[in-house]
Symmetry: C2
Subunit: 350 residues, 2 copies
């Protein structure tokens, strides 16, 4: 009896104080625990009177339903996983921000997972052990493997900005082939004759489709791709690529770059390393229309992916999972728009 009181006093910072549960609320409101639960669940029937009593008690105790317990019971976590490899390309911050916001509006929450070369497997397993309501994959690395694992667990998966490589997974992409065509058409229309391409990762469907579309437009216009170098979606490699392209005897008069992110490095290298003018000496076109493309330093002509539409489609797919066993994947392709800025010149035919 020396100090039992001290052990029981609950100070504000007392970490031993138990959280308020629906049972506490029920006791205070003089109803059953079920009544409390029903009050806080949508689509359940409670009389106005009990609801009021419960709400009052809940407020007084500052009760908040425990999402974890709820998940265990309903098998619905309201958590969506987003897998990506890096934020380096400014497109991804934009995507994650918009996606998170859109999901929050639907009462979902976002669990971020940064895939890495090494730890991918161990951490994948961990993320999968949270009863995710869905997963958005915006990372090339191990995408199809992870997609399969999720599918096996019955978790809806959406591949964002990458096509399904044979596996039957839902996906949202923009119309990259058309994007490539648009770029080709614009460059031809503005009088370019030697059009080169700096590619992204060769195993990326986005890159392939963009190149494919570009080549189609060139053929239609009676020409072929003038040159090509690989930038691998990395700025350093893109810089090296443009140095190589401009080091040849016959130089391109326009360079199409597989992503805006690389295009910035290309423009910088052209201007500050090779001392060439953009667009007077070389035109540059990118893809994605990330925020920086509009900056005065770049004024990059590019093809805009409508992140907004892609996000909307993604959320839609996540919320309405395909019927099980359906086997056929849903692939949403969002239209894209050419944004003409100042990085493309009008050239007079020689």
């Amino acid at each position: 009896m020396t100090r039992p009181m001290a052990d029981k006093v609950a100070t504000a910072a007392d970490s031993t104080k138990r959280a308020v549960t629906s049972i506490d609320v029920a006791a205070r409101a003089g109803v059953s625990q079920s009544a409390v639960s029903r009050t806080f669940s949508v689509g359940t029937s409670v009389s106005d009177e009990t609801r009021k009593k419960v709400m009052r008690a809940a407020r007084e105790l500052s009760y908040r339903p425990n999402a974890i317990a709820r998940t265990l019971s309903t098998r619905q976590s309201n958590i969506i996983g987003i897998v990506l490899s890096t934020f380096e390309n400014q497109l991804y911050p934009v995507v994650v921000e918009q996606l998170s916001r859109a999901l929050q509006l639907q009462g979902k929450h976002t669990m971020l997972f940064l895939a890495d070369k090494q730890d991918s497997d161990s951490a994948f397993n961990e993320i999968l052990s949270y009863q995710l309501d869905g997963v958005v994959i915006a990372s090339a690395t191990l995408a199809s493997k992870l997609a399969k694992q999720c599918a096996d667990m019955g978790i809806p998966v959406v591949m964002f900005n990458r096509a399904t490589d044979g596996t039957s997974t839902d996906s949202v992409t923009s119309d990259n082939r058309r994007a490539g065509q648009l770029v080709g058409e614009t460059l031809i229309a503005s009088g370019h004759q030697r059009i080169a391409y700096i590619s992204g990762r060769e195993d990326s469907s986005t890159n392939r489709d963009r190149e494919h579309g570009l080549r189609e437009a060139l053929v239609t216009g009676g020409m072929v791709l003038f040159a090509k170098a690989n930038g691998n979606y990395e700025q350093a490699q893109a810089s090296a690529a443009v140095v190589k392209l401009m080091g040849e005897a016959k130089k391109p008069d326009a360079i199409v770059v597989a992503s805006d992110h690389m295009a910035f490095a290309v423009i910088d290298t052209l201007r500050y390393t090779l001392h060439l003018r953009v667009p007077e000496d070389v035109s540059v076109v990118g893809y994605d229309d990330v925020p920086q493309s509009a900056w005065l330093a770049y004024q990059l002509t590019t093809v805009a992916q409508s992140v907004e539409k892609m996000v909307r489609a993604t959320v839609e797919l996540l919320m309405t999972p395909a019927a099980p066993g359906e086997g056929v994947s849903r692939n949403v392709v969002v239209a894209c728009t050419l944004i003409a800025r100042a990085s493309v010149a009008k050239r007079v035919r020689a």
Copy 2:
């Protein structure tokens, strides 16, 4: 008896198939459920033999412990919430990426929360109902309010890159006052005489400290701040601010900008709108050292925050929560470094 079989066949995509639980594994391994649980928990005692049996059965059934159930039982979710307002400033993608990676290495996962002006309250409540192990606040909006709520619930909170406004919350910041001094000293040393400041949000401690340090260095050097305009951490406002500063009869010869993000807009506006040269006509200095600062187009002299150190400190604080009722907050201040690039000129005294 017409089609009972069809109803029971479990196809791969059959969403009705129940998840594998520790009980299933126990049955298959011929041990109790506790044995399975102990096998998958660290720091518990199981004999090698049972462990092997369990692991084997688990592998055969591809069992994965249910993190949600585990959370309910242990009151430890292994989820850390990150609250921020926007990814616009490239510093934040970098921070979130590094923080997530660091947390993943500790077996923690990241729940992202994008604070908004409107929905802040409702969504806060939701995020708090997941038994978060900790919260990192990297958003100015409602920071102190949220911090208090978390503290009341016994959730460790760390304010990232913003000081605690009186409230006793742990925080990690860089030495912004010293950063300001460094900038002032450098500009004075390189012969600048009319040093102006474009500020961030006035209610941000980061901004205040940077300005404070800058003014101190100026006073020490026998001068005062030449002019000041508010950029509010937004590029458009920063552009307007620089236009205003350069529109005066007496123009600054150096502009210190409260963030790199704004500094890019300032440089672009100087060059492409006002047709001035950087650094020949005006030097520009930023804060943060985001990736773009190193780009050839900007070559921005800036003060680097060591995101790596800040992240490490944040994780450290999260993992070792202060003793309850301690009342005194831990405030880690990380040293910063001036990164000299080409946006500052050497001026000869007139």
